[in-house]
């Protein structure tokens, strides 16, 4: 019996020794633990935006951006670009000598093929629709030159094909895909990025290994990069503590604890706006929120500072502009004035309701759900419902999951009910693209605004080629969104990413759904 005990104890000690963090990770490894991988598809044409976290390491974009979201001629496969005088022909000059991971050269044919693929009916990327509308033809006059011919004049095409938006600008290998087919490509993707694909286990991890020398990064600092899918935060933090993860997304409530332990926490400031909106009916807004005074009252009834503190642990700022993605404000010269901020004013909210004929209040349906990156979803909905109760609006919380809410929204089956989303912050073109889908009546499906004046301004932005006029239009859209109270902007949330104590300097950037992990590989 004694020998048995000895064996058990020895085995346990061995197990602990083998599992000790010191042996767990070689220095040439970089491990990123994330709570969500989105759809885990490795084909850029079959995804929304979220996959950029890991795809940005394997693929390069036609147009590069700096981590703070500014177009960069040094960061993309196009080393320069110019447009014709009427802004209908855009010429992109490609970098020479760039090779795909299979050894083939990257040429203008690959760019053309990638764009056509991103616009194909099979594509589910975020901006496939606008590109189909915009692009008339793609010409390849030389292997290092591609010309995009547009149906109408616009300034926004380089941004649509850049890293600052979705995946449409990623350049894919034409020959490889044509020779092997889409399915093989989705399983074993080949790009020109600093890391090449090694392995994917859906629901577990994606492994990549460095190329010998990358045109943008040089010799990557880390030999291997692994993205681990770790849904539970306690586990992600345990991985950090054990040195088995170098970067991890964490919740706002664990930030102070981690900082106290010495883990650097990098904030993506104002990463998303928590924005609420009323579902439209088939004919637009329905009473009582058809009345502007009611919409204003519901805005004034919310104590945004308290929500920022109590629900988001102080890592949030009050928001004032419906759909006002703040990363775009500076670009278009928009400033949120003190008068635009919604004060917490219950008395005025009640008066507005009374003036609108709802002194006795009304019943407001509020859909309550969690979202990726917004674990506070349900408690947030409960808090807002609580504020509205104080002005006599009886909020009926409807717990659902997001797909169920989205069905009600796009099918317009619950007019007047409220939903919300943590809309990722983005630059002005991304903001415009969002407005074009969610605040523009002709977009039908996703529209949440239904305002002819805003429709007119949105329609002009696309066709406008004078940047100053575009900026003025964008400023006017924001102003109108605020003055008409087209939604309930609540807070901008900051998103924390904790890193290991040894990782060093890290800038997660200010580009939607991109953490610039590849920049960590720069020596």
């Amino acid at each position: 019996m004694k020998s048995t005990t000895r064996i058990i104890v020895t085995s346990l000690l061995l197990l602990i020794a083998v599992a000790s963090p010191a042996w767990a990770q070689a220095k040439s490894e970089l491990t990123v633990a994330l709570s969500s991988f989105s759809a885990e598809t490795l084909d850029p044409a079959l995804q929304g935006h979220n996959v950029k976290y890991y795809l940005s390491l394997m693929f390069d974009y036609l147009v590069g951006v700096t981590p703070d979201g500014q177009p960069s001629q040094a960061g993309g496969l196009a080393s320069k670009w110019e447009s014709s005088a009427d802004h209908r022909r855009w010429t992109f000059h490609l970098r020479k000598g760039v090779k795909f991971h299979d050894g083939s050269d990257m040429t203008s044919e690959d760019v053309k093929f990638s764009l056509q693929r991103a616009m194909s009916k099979r594509s589910t990327t975020g901006y496939a629709g606008p590109l189909r509308t915009l692009i008339a033809d793609i010409e390849t006059p030389a292997p290092d030159r591609v010309v995009i011919v547009l149906k109408e004049s616009t300034l926004i095409i380089p941004t649509y094909l850049s890293r600052s938006l979705s995946t449409e600008g990623m350049v894919l290998p034409k020959k490889y895909i044509e020779a092997n087919g889409d399915d093989v490509f989705a399983r074993k993707p080949v790009g020109t990025g600093p890391y090449k694909f090694v392995e994917q286990v859906v629901g577990s991890h994606i492994k990549m290994t460095a190329v010998d020398n990358h045109w943008r990064i040089g010799v990557p600092k880390y030999k291997n990069v692994t993205f681990k899918l770790v849904p539970e935060e306690t586990t992600r933090i345990a991985l950090l503590r054990r040195g088995e993860a170098d970067v991890a997304d964490v919740s706002r409530e664990r930030v102070k604890e981690l900082e106290k332990e010495g883990f650097p926490v990098h904030m993506r400031r104002e990463e998303a706006i928590i924005h609420m909106w009323w579902i439209l009916g088939p004919e637009g807004r329905t009473p009582p929120t058809r009345d502007k005074r009611v919409r204003e009252a519901l805005n004034l009834a919310i104590d945004r500072a308290e929500i920022a503190q109590s629900i988001f642990g102080g890592y949030a700022e009050p928001a004032a502009i419906p759909m006002g993605l703040s990363w775009a404000f500076k670009e278009v010269g928009f400033k949120v004035t003190p008068e635009m901020a919604y004060p917490y004013d219950v008395a005025r909210a009640k008066k507005l309701l009374a003036d609108a004929g709802y002194a006795g209040g009304f019943t407001q349906d509020v859909y309550a759900f969690q979202l990726p990156g917004f674990a506070e979803g349900k408690s947030f909905a409960e808090a807002v419902a609580g504020y509205w109760e104080k002005i006599g609006v009886k909020s009926k919380l409807i717990p659902v999951d997001y797909p169920a809410f989205r069905k009600q929204w796009v099918d317009r089956k619950a007019p007047g009910a409220v939903g919300y989303y943590n809309i990722a912050n983005r630059d002005w073109i991304g903001t415009y693209a969002l407005l074009e889908k969610q605040a523009y009546t002709p977009s039908k499906l996703n529209d949440t605004v239904n305002d002819p004046e805003i429709d007119g301004m949105i329609a002009q932005v696309m066709r406008q080629t004078d940047r100053e006029k575009i900026n003025a239009l964008m400023r006017n859209i924001y102003t109108r969104m605020r003055s008409e109270h087209h939604g309930v902007p609540v807070v901008y949330v900051h998103s924390p990413y904790a890193t290991s104590k040894t990782l060093g300097k890290y800038n997660p950037g200010a580009v939607m759904y991109d953490l610039f992990i590849d920049e960590l590989a720069r020596k």
Binding site: A186, S204, E232
Partner: protein
């Protein structure tokens, strides 16, 4: 015996056929997967394109027979979310679930057997009381809580064992113990009560009177006869461990079948939901059949009844 096995097989096939209809209908009743895979700014045209590309624009009856027709050949279609053949995802996940369940079951047996037998033999003593505390805690503590406590302290703060993943033998310990503790509790109680009953029986008394060593009386004569309910329990629980370890797999980032099912359900990934449900149902049916056959081996009287 053959007739018995064939009859049970037929029963299982009918159950699977009914289940295929139920899961097909229920999966579609809960929502549209396109709301998950298409971006928030998708247009009506985007929806129509995706629906056509994924074959979701066909009539339900056509979709069902297409699904069943391919499923019998092992082709469960392509995951709407991951865009890979579902059979590949099953091949990646099922072995992980089986390995974790086997580890958890092995650990449970190793703990529950000596604990259950000793609790019965030393009834009313400190050993018995300690065993009962283990059982009560195992069955009352929520699995997610146990899992998070183990990750937070054993893995995160004390750094004794890995926090997640399925990379090494050490990484099996925490999820295996979390899963296995509940099974230990149930198995130990069953074994204790079975042993108490058997130890009080006439043939055990006779064995003792004949001078058979107490160790042999307990571990051979009594234990074998107390095993039948434990075998049933272990069989059923093994299937449950394989198929429903969603919480443990999520906390420990274990790439198993449970999380595949969960991800499938939350993203309305019909082919994955259908494949996982049918696979797990097949596992449960097979294990039940195996347990029934094992009965006949342990207790020869059973093979003569149907």
């Amino acid at each position: 015996m053959l007739r018995f096995v064939l009859f049970r097989l037929l029963q299982s096939l009918v159950a699977l056929a009914i289940l295929s209809v139920v899961v097909f209908v229920l999966a579609r009743a809960t929502g549209d997967p396109l709301h998950m895979i298409l971006p928030m700014n998708a247009s009506e045209e985007d929806y129509a394109n995706a629906r056509k590309y994924l074959g979701l624009d066909r009539p339900y009856v056509e979709q069902y027979f297409s699904f069943v027709g391919r499923a019998v050949t092992g082709d469960f279609g392509t995951s709407i979310r991951a865009r890979r053949p579902v059979i590949e995802l099953l091949r990646e996940r099922l072995p992980n679930s089986l390995k974790l369940a086997a580890f958890a079951m092995g650990a449970s047996l190793a703990i529950a057997f000596p604990l259950g037998v000793m609790a019965a033999v030393k009834k009313g003593t400190g050993v018995d009381r300690a065993a009962q505390i283990v059982a009560v805690l195992g069955q009352s503590l929520p699995t997610f809580w146990v899992a998070i406590v183990l990750v937070e302290f054993v893995a995160g703060r004390w750094q004794w064992l890995p926090a997640g993943g399925a990379d090494s033998l050490a990484s099996y310990v925490l999820p295996g113990l979390t899963l296995g503790w509940f099974v230990v509790a149930g198995m130990m109680r069953l074994l204790r009560s079975g042993m108490l009953e058997v130890l009080d029986s006439e043939y055990v008394k006779l064995a003792r009177l004949k001078g058979v060593a107490e160790r042999k009386v307990v571990w051979v004569h009594a234990l074998k006869n107390a095993l039948i309910p434990v075998v049933t329990f272990a069989g059923i629980y093994f299937a449950i461990l394989v198929t429903t370890a969603i919480v443990v797999e999520t906390v420990f980032a274990w790439p198993g079948l449970g999380r595949l099912a969960y991800d499938g359900i939350t993203s309305r990934d019909f082919p994955v939901i259908q494949a996982v449900v049918l696979t797990t149902a097949t596992i449960v049916a097979a294990v039940n059949l195996g347990v029934d056959c094992l009965y006949a081996v342990i207790d020869p009287r059973i093979r003569y009844s149907r």
